[in-house]
Protein backbone atom coordinates (compact mmCIF):
# COMPACT_ATOMS: atom_id res chain seq x y z
CA UNK A 1 0.00 0.00 0.00
CA UNK A 2 1.02 3.59 -0.59
CA UNK A 3 -0.20 6.21 1.87
CA UNK A 4 -0.17 9.94 1.25
CA UNK A 5 -0.88 12.63 3.83
CA UNK A 6 -2.80 15.45 2.09
CA UNK A 7 -2.19 18.93 3.41
CA UNK A 8 -5.51 20.73 3.98
CA UNK A 9 -4.27 24.03 5.40
CA UNK A 10 -4.50 25.21 8.99
CA UNK A 11 -6.99 26.51 11.56
CA UNK A 12 -6.76 28.24 14.94
CA UNK A 13 -8.46 27.30 18.20
CA UNK A 14 -7.82 28.09 21.82
CA UNK A 15 -5.48 25.80 23.74
CA UNK A 16 -8.32 25.00 26.16
CA UNK A 17 -10.31 23.65 23.22
CA UNK A 18 -7.42 21.54 21.95
CA UNK A 19 -6.91 20.22 25.50
CA UNK A 20 -10.23 20.54 27.34
CA UNK A 21 -10.06 23.23 30.03
CA UNK A 22 -6.24 23.45 29.92
CA UNK A 23 -4.63 26.90 29.52
CA UNK A 24 -7.39 29.10 28.10
CA UNK A 25 -6.33 32.29 26.37
CA UNK A 26 -3.59 30.83 24.17
CA UNK A 27 -4.37 30.55 20.45
CA UNK A 28 -2.93 27.54 18.64
CA UNK A 29 -2.63 27.18 14.85
CA UNK A 30 -2.78 23.56 13.77
CA UNK A 31 -2.82 21.55 10.54
CA UNK A 32 -5.76 19.70 9.01
CA UNK A 33 -5.00 16.75 6.76
CA UNK A 34 -6.60 13.85 4.91
CA UNK A 35 -5.16 10.44 4.02
CA UNK A 36 -5.08 8.84 0.55
CA UNK A 37 -4.44 5.11 0.33
CA UNK A 38 -3.70 3.12 -2.82
CA UNK A 39 -4.67 -0.49 -2.14
CA UNK A 40 -4.86 -3.11 -4.94
CA UNK A 41 -7.68 -1.82 -7.15
CA UNK A 42 -9.00 0.65 -4.59
CA UNK A 43 -8.11 4.29 -4.06
CA UNK A 44 -9.38 5.22 -0.62
CA UNK A 45 -9.66 8.70 0.83
CA UNK A 46 -9.97 9.14 4.59
CA UNK A 47 -11.53 12.53 5.46
CA UNK A 48 -11.61 15.63 3.29
CA UNK A 49 -10.56 18.57 5.51
CA UNK A 50 -12.47 21.84 5.71
CA UNK A 51 -14.07 24.09 3.13
CA UNK A 52 -12.43 27.50 3.28
CA UNK A 53 -15.48 29.49 2.24
CA UNK A 54 -17.69 27.73 4.81
CA UNK A 55 -15.15 28.25 7.57
CA UNK A 56 -14.69 31.94 6.75
CA UNK A 57 -18.44 32.41 6.82
CA UNK A 58 -19.49 30.30 9.83
CA UNK A 59 -16.30 29.97 11.93
CA UNK A 60 -14.19 33.01 10.94
CA UNK A 61 -12.58 32.97 14.41
CA UNK A 62 -10.76 29.77 13.41
CA UNK A 63 -8.79 31.94 10.93
CA UNK A 64 -8.55 29.41 8.06
CA UNK A 65 -5.41 29.48 5.93
CA UNK A 66 -5.77 27.26 2.88
CA UNK A 67 -4.28 27.80 -0.58
CA UNK A 68 -5.72 26.39 -3.80
CA UNK A 69 -2.99 23.75 -3.63
CA UNK A 70 -4.35 22.66 -0.23
CA UNK A 71 -7.82 21.73 -1.49
CA UNK A 72 -8.74 18.06 -1.84
CA UNK A 73 -8.79 17.93 -5.67
CA UNK A 74 -5.39 19.63 -5.94
CA UNK A 75 -3.89 17.34 -3.31
CA UNK A 76 -5.23 14.19 -5.03
CA UNK A 77 -3.79 15.37 -8.36
CA UNK A 78 -0.50 16.01 -6.65
CA UNK A 79 -0.34 12.27 -5.93
CA UNK A 80 -0.87 11.44 -9.62
CA UNK A 81 -4.60 10.71 -9.56
CA UNK A 82 -7.78 12.40 -10.66
CA UNK A 83 -10.41 12.99 -7.95
CA UNK A 84 -12.77 10.78 -9.98
CA UNK A 85 -10.41 7.84 -9.45
CA UNK A 86 -11.17 7.71 -5.71
CA UNK A 87 -13.25 4.55 -5.19
CA UNK A 88 -14.19 4.98 -1.53
CA UNK A 89 -14.33 8.00 0.77
CA UNK A 90 -14.37 7.27 4.50
CA UNK A 91 -15.26 9.99 7.03
CA UNK A 92 -13.81 9.55 10.51
CA UNK A 93 -16.71 11.76 11.60
CA UNK A 94 -18.72 14.63 10.14
CA UNK A 95 -17.34 17.74 11.83
CA UNK A 96 -16.75 20.52 9.32
CA UNK A 97 -12.97 20.09 9.27
CA UNK A 98 -13.19 16.42 8.28
CA UNK A 99 -15.90 16.46 5.60
CA UNK A 100 -15.60 19.88 3.95
CA UNK A 101 -14.29 18.41 0.68
CA UNK A 102 -16.87 15.62 0.38
CA UNK A 103 -19.00 17.66 -2.03
CA UNK A 104 -16.03 17.87 -4.42
CA UNK A 105 -16.24 14.08 -5.01
CA UNK A 106 -19.94 13.96 -5.81
CA UNK A 107 -20.32 10.43 -7.20
CA UNK A 108 -18.00 8.56 -4.87
CA UNK A 109 -19.06 5.79 -2.49
CA UNK A 110 -19.01 7.33 1.02
CA UNK A 111 -18.57 5.16 4.12
CA UNK A 112 -19.15 6.23 7.73
CA UNK A 113 -20.36 4.89 11.05
CA UNK A 114 -24.15 4.67 11.32
CA UNK A 115 -24.21 6.59 14.62
CA UNK A 116 -22.32 9.47 13.02
CA UNK A 117 -24.77 9.81 10.17
CA UNK A 118 -27.69 9.74 12.59
CA UNK A 119 -26.16 12.29 14.97
CA UNK A 120 -24.95 14.70 12.29
CA UNK A 121 -28.48 14.90 10.94
CA UNK A 122 -30.03 15.46 14.39
CA UNK A 123 -27.34 16.83 16.68
CA UNK A 124 -27.26 18.44 20.11
CA UNK A 125 -27.35 22.25 20.31
CA UNK A 126 -23.75 22.31 21.56
CA UNK A 127 -22.62 20.45 18.41
CA UNK A 128 -23.91 23.15 16.10
CA UNK A 129 -20.54 24.48 14.96
CA UNK A 130 -18.97 21.03 14.59
CA UNK A 131 -21.73 19.89 12.26
CA UNK A 132 -22.20 23.29 10.61
CA UNK A 133 -21.03 22.16 7.16
CA UNK A 134 -23.75 19.79 5.96
CA UNK A 135 -22.73 19.87 2.27
CA UNK A 136 -21.68 16.20 2.53
CA UNK A 137 -25.41 15.40 2.69
CA UNK A 138 -26.20 16.20 -0.96
CA UNK A 139 -28.56 14.46 -3.37
CA UNK A 140 -25.77 12.57 -5.21
CA UNK A 141 -24.13 11.31 -2.01
CA UNK A 142 -23.96 7.52 -1.99
CA UNK A 143 -23.61 6.82 1.73
CA UNK A 144 -23.02 3.40 3.26
CA UNK A 145 -22.93 2.97 7.01
CA UNK A 146 -21.46 0.34 9.30
CA UNK A 147 -21.39 -0.41 13.00
CA UNK A 148 -18.83 -2.24 15.07
CA UNK A 149 -15.15 -2.39 14.10
CA UNK A 150 -14.69 -3.22 10.41
CA UNK A 151 -11.88 -4.24 8.06
CA UNK A 152 -12.79 -2.04 5.10
CA UNK A 153 -10.27 -3.75 2.82
CA UNK A 154 -7.48 -6.13 3.77
CA UNK A 155 -5.26 -4.47 6.37
CA UNK A 156 -7.31 -1.29 6.65
CA UNK A 157 -9.34 -1.20 9.86
CA UNK A 158 -11.87 1.25 11.25
CA UNK A 159 -12.30 1.10 15.03
CA UNK A 160 -15.18 2.60 16.97
CA UNK A 161 -13.82 5.41 19.16
CA UNK A 162 -16.83 7.54 20.18
CA UNK A 163 -16.84 10.48 22.58
CA UNK A 164 -15.59 13.38 20.50
CA UNK A 165 -18.53 12.59 18.28
CA UNK A 166 -21.18 9.88 18.42
CA UNK A 167 -19.83 7.72 15.61
CA UNK A 168 -16.17 8.72 15.50
CA UNK A 169 -13.75 6.10 14.14
CA UNK A 170 -9.99 5.60 14.24
CA UNK A 171 -8.09 4.31 11.20
CA UNK A 172 -5.39 1.63 11.32
CA UNK A 173 -3.34 0.81 8.26
CA UNK A 174 -1.77 -2.52 9.00
CA UNK A 175 1.29 -3.50 7.03
CA UNK A 176 1.66 -7.01 5.71
CA UNK A 177 5.26 -6.34 4.67
CA UNK A 178 6.82 -5.62 8.03
CA UNK A 179 6.63 -1.84 7.71
CA UNK A 180 5.29 0.00 10.78
CA UNK A 181 1.53 0.12 10.96
CA UNK A 182 0.01 3.61 10.85
CA UNK A 183 -2.63 4.64 13.39
CA UNK A 184 -4.79 7.73 12.90
CA UNK A 185 -6.73 8.50 16.10
CA UNK A 186 -8.19 11.63 14.44
CA UNK A 187 -10.05 13.60 17.12
CA UNK A 188 -9.87 11.06 19.96
CA UNK A 189 -7.03 13.31 21.15
CA UNK A 190 -5.98 16.14 18.86
CA UNK A 191 -2.23 16.20 19.44
CA UNK A 192 0.61 14.14 20.83
CA UNK A 193 0.46 16.09 24.10
CA UNK A 194 -3.30 15.55 24.35
CA UNK A 195 -2.90 11.83 23.69
CA UNK A 196 -0.05 11.32 26.12
CA UNK A 197 -1.82 13.30 28.86
CA UNK A 198 -5.15 11.63 27.97
CA UNK A 199 -7.00 14.91 27.57
CA UNK A 200 -9.73 15.06 24.97
CA UNK A 201 -10.81 18.18 23.10
CA UNK A 202 -13.39 20.57 24.54
CA UNK A 203 -15.65 19.61 21.64
CA UNK A 204 -17.32 16.32 22.51
CA UNK A 205 -20.66 14.65 23.02
CA UNK A 206 -19.76 12.04 25.63
CA UNK A 207 -16.59 12.69 27.61
CA UNK A 208 -16.77 9.40 29.51
CA UNK A 209 -16.77 7.52 26.20
CA UNK A 210 -14.04 9.88 24.98
CA UNK A 211 -11.82 8.97 27.89
CA UNK A 212 -12.35 5.27 27.17
CA UNK A 213 -11.53 5.85 23.49
CA UNK A 214 -8.14 7.36 24.37
CA UNK A 215 -7.38 4.21 26.36
CA UNK A 216 -8.61 2.07 23.47
CA UNK A 217 -6.31 3.82 20.99
CA UNK A 218 -3.38 3.34 23.37
CA UNK A 219 -4.15 -0.38 23.44
CA UNK A 220 -4.39 -0.52 19.63
CA UNK A 221 -1.10 1.34 19.29
CA UNK A 222 0.61 -1.13 21.61
CA UNK A 223 -1.01 -4.20 20.05
CA UNK A 224 0.05 -3.22 16.52
CA UNK A 225 3.29 -1.43 17.44
CA UNK A 226 1.85 1.37 15.34
CA UNK A 227 3.23 4.79 14.52
CA UNK A 228 0.84 7.53 15.65
CA UNK A 229 -0.39 10.22 13.25
CA UNK A 230 -2.10 12.96 15.28
CA UNK A 231 -4.78 14.90 13.44
CA UNK A 232 -4.08 18.45 14.62
CA UNK A 233 -0.48 18.75 15.81
CA UNK A 234 1.76 21.27 14.03
CA UNK A 235 5.00 19.91 15.44
CA UNK A 236 4.19 16.26 14.64
CA UNK A 237 2.96 17.23 11.17
CA UNK A 238 6.24 18.97 10.36
CA UNK A 239 8.07 15.69 10.92
CA UNK A 240 6.03 13.58 8.48
CA UNK A 241 6.12 13.06 4.71
CA UNK A 242 3.55 15.18 2.86
CA UNK A 243 2.06 14.40 -0.54
CA UNK A 244 3.46 13.85 -3.12
CA UNK A 245 5.90 12.01 -0.80
CA UNK A 246 4.33 8.84 0.54
CA UNK A 247 4.70 5.95 2.98
CA UNK A 248 4.96 2.37 1.77
CA UNK A 249 3.06 0.15 4.18
Amino acid sequence: MRVWLLDGGTLVIDHSQLLWNVNPGIEVRFPVFSVLIEHDDELILFDTGYDKEHTERVLPFELPEQTGEQTIPAQIRRCGFEPSEVTTLVNSHLHFDHCGGNRLLPGVRVVMHERELEQARDHEPFERLGYSDATWDHAQASIETFSGDVELVRGLWLYETPGHSAGHVTLLIHSDRGAPSMLFPVDVALSRAAFEREIQASFHIDPIAGQRSIRRVKELAAEHAAEMYYAHDAEAWSGWKHAPDYYEV
Copy 2:
Protein backbone atom coordinates in the same frame (compact mmCIF):
# COMPACT_ATOMS: atom_id res chain seq x y z
CA MET B 1 -39.46 30.83 55.81
CA ARG B 2 -36.53 33.18 55.91
CA VAL B 3 -33.84 32.78 53.26
CA TRP B 4 -30.37 34.29 53.44
CA LEU B 5 -27.81 34.39 50.63
CA LEU B 6 -24.36 33.89 52.19
CA ASP B 7 -21.50 35.64 50.44
CA GLY B 8 -18.58 33.21 49.92
CA GLY B 9 -16.15 35.44 48.05
CA THR B 10 -15.23 35.27 44.37
CA LEU B 11 -13.27 33.18 41.85
CA VAL B 12 -12.03 33.66 38.29
CA ILE B 13 -12.48 31.38 35.29
CA ASP B 14 -12.27 31.86 31.56
CA HIS B 15 -15.43 32.92 29.74
CA SER B 16 -15.25 29.72 27.64
CA GLN B 17 -15.49 27.73 30.86
CA LEU B 18 -18.46 29.72 32.14
CA LEU B 19 -20.13 29.27 28.74
CA TRP B 20 -18.69 26.15 27.13
CA ASN B 21 -16.48 27.01 24.13
CA VAL B 22 -17.75 30.62 23.93
CA ASN B 23 -15.18 33.46 23.82
CA PRO B 24 -11.98 31.91 25.19
CA GLY B 25 -9.33 34.29 26.46
CA ILE B 26 -11.58 36.51 28.59
CA GLU B 27 -11.26 36.12 32.37
CA VAL B 28 -14.44 36.50 34.41
CA ARG B 29 -14.60 37.06 38.18
CA PHE B 30 -17.79 35.67 39.66
CA PRO B 31 -19.38 35.23 43.10
CA VAL B 32 -19.81 32.02 45.06
CA PHE B 33 -22.65 31.85 47.57
CA SER B 34 -24.55 29.49 49.84
CA VAL B 35 -28.17 29.60 51.02
CA LEU B 36 -29.42 29.47 54.60
CA ILE B 37 -33.09 28.65 55.22
CA GLU B 38 -34.97 28.92 58.51
CA HIS B 39 -37.94 26.57 58.30
CA ASP B 40 -40.07 25.73 61.38
CA ASP B 41 -37.64 23.87 63.64
CA GLU B 42 -35.03 23.33 60.93
CA LEU B 43 -32.08 25.47 59.92
CA ILE B 44 -30.99 24.27 56.51
CA LEU B 45 -27.79 25.17 54.70
CA PHE B 46 -27.54 24.63 50.94
CA ASP B 47 -23.89 24.41 49.82
CA THR B 48 -20.85 25.74 51.64
CA GLY B 49 -18.72 27.58 49.02
CA TYR B 50 -15.00 27.05 48.61
CA ASP B 51 -12.12 26.70 51.03
CA LYS B 52 -9.64 29.49 50.37
CA GLU B 53 -6.54 27.56 51.40
CA HIS B 54 -7.49 24.58 49.23
CA THR B 55 -8.20 26.80 46.24
CA GLU B 56 -4.93 28.71 46.60
CA ARG B 57 -3.04 25.44 46.78
CA VAL B 58 -4.81 23.34 44.10
CA LEU B 59 -6.50 25.91 41.83
CA PRO B 60 -4.46 29.10 42.28
CA PHE B 61 -5.36 30.19 38.72
CA GLU B 62 -8.94 30.75 39.95
CA LEU B 63 -7.55 33.67 42.00
CA PRO B 64 -9.73 33.26 45.10
CA GLU B 65 -10.74 36.39 46.97
CA GLN B 66 -12.42 35.57 50.28
CA THR B 67 -12.25 37.53 53.54
CA GLY B 68 -12.73 36.04 56.99
CA GLU B 69 -16.24 37.52 56.92
CA GLN B 70 -16.96 35.47 53.79
CA THR B 71 -16.39 32.08 55.40
CA ILE B 72 -19.36 29.87 56.23
CA PRO B 73 -19.18 30.21 60.05
CA ALA B 74 -18.92 34.00 59.86
CA GLN B 75 -21.80 34.22 57.41
CA ILE B 76 -24.04 32.00 59.56
CA ARG B 77 -23.27 34.15 62.63
CA ARG B 78 -24.10 37.22 60.58
CA CYS B 79 -27.64 35.85 60.29
CA GLY B 80 -27.91 35.47 64.07
CA PHE B 81 -27.15 31.75 64.40
CA GLU B 82 -24.27 29.61 65.55
CA PRO B 83 -22.92 27.11 62.99
CA SER B 84 -23.86 24.33 65.44
CA GLU B 85 -27.53 25.31 65.06
CA VAL B 86 -27.62 24.14 61.43
CA THR B 87 -29.74 20.98 61.43
CA THR B 88 -29.25 19.86 57.80
CA LEU B 89 -26.61 20.63 55.22
CA VAL B 90 -27.54 19.90 51.58
CA ASN B 91 -24.90 19.81 48.86
CA SER B 92 -26.11 20.59 45.33
CA HIS B 93 -23.03 18.65 44.22
CA LEU B 94 -19.51 18.06 45.50
CA HIS B 95 -17.34 20.33 43.37
CA PHE B 96 -14.81 22.20 45.50
CA ASP B 97 -16.67 25.52 45.31
CA HIS B 98 -19.88 24.02 46.72
CA CYS B 99 -18.59 21.86 49.58
CA GLY B 100 -15.45 23.62 50.83
CA GLY B 101 -17.05 24.64 54.13
CA ASN B 102 -18.60 21.23 54.94
CA ARG B 103 -15.72 20.34 57.23
CA LEU B 104 -16.51 23.41 59.37
CA LEU B 105 -19.86 21.83 60.38
CA PRO B 106 -18.46 18.48 61.49
CA GLY B 107 -21.45 16.96 63.28
CA VAL B 108 -24.24 18.11 61.00
CA ARG B 109 -26.55 15.81 59.04
CA VAL B 110 -25.42 16.04 55.39
CA VAL B 111 -27.81 15.27 52.52
CA MET B 112 -26.87 14.74 48.88
CA HIS B 113 -27.89 12.74 45.82
CA GLU B 114 -26.63 9.14 45.87
CA ARG B 115 -25.10 9.45 42.37
CA GLU B 116 -23.08 12.47 43.51
CA LEU B 117 -21.58 10.67 46.47
CA GLU B 118 -20.69 7.68 44.31
CA GLN B 119 -19.13 9.78 41.54
CA ALA B 120 -17.18 12.12 43.83
CA ARG B 121 -15.52 9.10 45.41
CA ASP B 122 -14.65 7.51 42.05
CA HIS B 123 -14.63 10.24 39.42
CA GLU B 124 -13.44 10.53 35.83
CA PRO B 125 -9.91 11.88 35.20
CA PHE B 126 -11.35 15.07 33.68
CA GLU B 127 -13.27 15.75 36.92
CA ARG B 128 -10.11 15.86 39.02
CA LEU B 129 -10.13 19.59 39.74
CA GLY B 130 -13.87 19.76 40.37
CA TYR B 131 -13.67 17.05 43.03
CA SER B 132 -10.24 18.10 44.31
CA ASP B 133 -11.48 19.13 47.77
CA ALA B 134 -12.51 15.88 49.45
CA THR B 135 -12.54 17.25 52.99
CA TRP B 136 -16.35 16.80 53.08
CA ASP B 137 -15.64 13.05 53.31
CA HIS B 138 -14.34 13.04 56.88
CA ALA B 139 -14.83 10.52 59.67
CA GLN B 140 -17.51 12.56 61.50
CA ALA B 141 -19.54 13.21 58.35
CA SER B 142 -23.08 11.92 58.74
CA ILE B 143 -24.13 11.55 55.11
CA GLU B 144 -27.63 10.61 53.91
CA THR B 145 -28.34 10.12 50.24
CA PHE B 146 -31.50 10.19 48.16
CA SER B 147 -32.51 9.58 44.56
CA GLY B 148 -35.32 10.99 42.51
CA ASP B 149 -36.82 14.41 43.24
CA VAL B 150 -37.49 14.94 46.94
CA GLU B 151 -39.33 17.39 49.17
CA LEU B 152 -36.76 17.74 51.93
CA VAL B 153 -39.13 19.65 54.19
CA ARG B 154 -42.46 21.20 53.31
CA GLY B 155 -41.98 23.58 50.36
CA LEU B 156 -38.31 22.87 49.89
CA TRP B 157 -37.69 20.69 46.85
CA LEU B 158 -34.55 19.14 45.40
CA TYR B 159 -34.80 18.25 41.70
CA GLU B 160 -32.45 15.96 39.82
CA THR B 161 -30.57 18.02 37.23
CA PRO B 162 -27.52 15.95 36.19
CA GLY B 163 -24.99 16.78 33.50
CA HIS B 164 -22.66 19.29 35.12
CA SER B 165 -22.06 16.52 37.65
CA ALA B 166 -23.53 13.06 38.01
CA GLY B 167 -25.83 13.79 40.96
CA HIS B 168 -26.33 17.54 40.65
CA VAL B 169 -29.57 18.91 42.12
CA THR B 170 -31.50 22.16 41.79
CA LEU B 171 -33.20 23.77 44.80
CA LEU B 172 -36.72 25.21 44.78
CA ILE B 173 -38.05 27.12 47.76
CA HIS B 174 -41.79 27.23 47.28
CA SER B 175 -43.71 29.86 49.13
CA ASP B 176 -46.99 29.03 50.81
CA ARG B 177 -47.69 32.69 51.48
CA GLY B 178 -47.89 34.02 47.94
CA ALA B 179 -44.32 35.32 47.86
CA PRO B 180 -42.35 34.46 44.71
CA SER B 181 -40.77 31.01 44.80
CA MET B 182 -36.98 30.98 44.63
CA LEU B 183 -35.19 28.66 42.19
CA PHE B 184 -31.48 27.89 42.50
CA PRO B 185 -30.24 26.05 39.38
CA VAL B 186 -26.70 26.08 40.77
CA ASP B 187 -24.37 24.83 38.03
CA VAL B 188 -26.98 23.71 35.50
CA ALA B 189 -26.10 27.04 33.86
CA LEU B 190 -23.74 29.35 35.71
CA SER B 191 -25.20 32.74 34.85
CA ARG B 192 -28.31 34.40 33.48
CA ALA B 193 -26.70 34.63 30.03
CA ALA B 194 -25.73 30.95 30.14
CA PHE B 195 -29.26 29.98 31.18
CA GLU B 196 -31.02 32.12 28.62
CA ARG B 197 -28.72 30.95 25.80
CA GLU B 198 -28.90 27.35 27.13
CA ILE B 199 -25.13 26.96 27.29
CA GLN B 200 -23.75 24.80 30.07
CA ALA B 201 -20.30 25.19 31.64
CA SER B 202 -17.20 23.58 30.13
CA PHE B 203 -17.01 21.47 33.30
CA HIS B 204 -19.43 18.59 32.93
CA ILE B 205 -19.70 14.83 32.87
CA ASP B 206 -22.65 14.36 30.51
CA PRO B 207 -23.44 17.30 28.25
CA ILE B 208 -26.53 15.65 26.74
CA ALA B 209 -28.01 15.33 30.24
CA GLY B 210 -26.80 18.88 30.96
CA GLN B 211 -28.73 20.23 28.03
CA ARG B 212 -31.88 18.42 29.19
CA SER B 213 -31.37 19.82 32.71
CA ILE B 214 -31.37 23.39 31.42
CA ARG B 215 -34.72 22.66 29.74
CA ARG B 216 -35.98 21.06 32.94
CA VAL B 217 -35.09 24.12 35.02
CA LYS B 218 -36.85 26.34 32.50
CA GLU B 219 -39.98 24.21 32.91
CA LEU B 220 -39.71 24.37 36.72
CA ALA B 221 -39.27 28.14 36.61
CA ALA B 222 -42.37 28.51 34.45
CA GLU B 223 -44.43 26.03 36.47
CA HIS B 224 -43.68 27.77 39.78
CA ALA B 225 -43.38 31.33 38.42
CA ALA B 226 -40.09 31.29 40.31
CA GLU B 227 -37.44 33.96 40.64
CA MET B 228 -34.07 32.70 39.37
CA TYR B 229 -30.93 32.83 41.52
CA TYR B 230 -27.90 32.09 39.33
CA ALA B 231 -24.93 30.58 41.14
CA HIS B 232 -22.05 32.43 39.51
CA ASP B 233 -23.26 35.72 38.03
CA ALA B 234 -21.68 38.93 39.33
CA GLU B 235 -24.30 41.22 37.84
CA ALA B 236 -27.27 39.19 39.11
CA TRP B 237 -25.64 38.82 42.54
CA SER B 238 -25.26 42.58 42.90
CA GLY B 239 -29.04 42.97 42.60
CA TRP B 240 -30.00 40.56 45.40
CA LYS B 241 -30.22 40.87 49.19
CA HIS B 242 -27.13 39.53 50.95
CA ALA B 243 -26.99 38.24 54.53
CA PRO B 244 -27.87 39.58 57.04
CA ASP B 245 -30.69 40.90 54.79
CA TYR B 246 -33.09 38.12 53.92
CA TYR B 247 -36.06 37.07 51.82
CA GLU B 248 -39.38 36.07 53.41
CA VAL B 249 -40.84 33.21 51.42
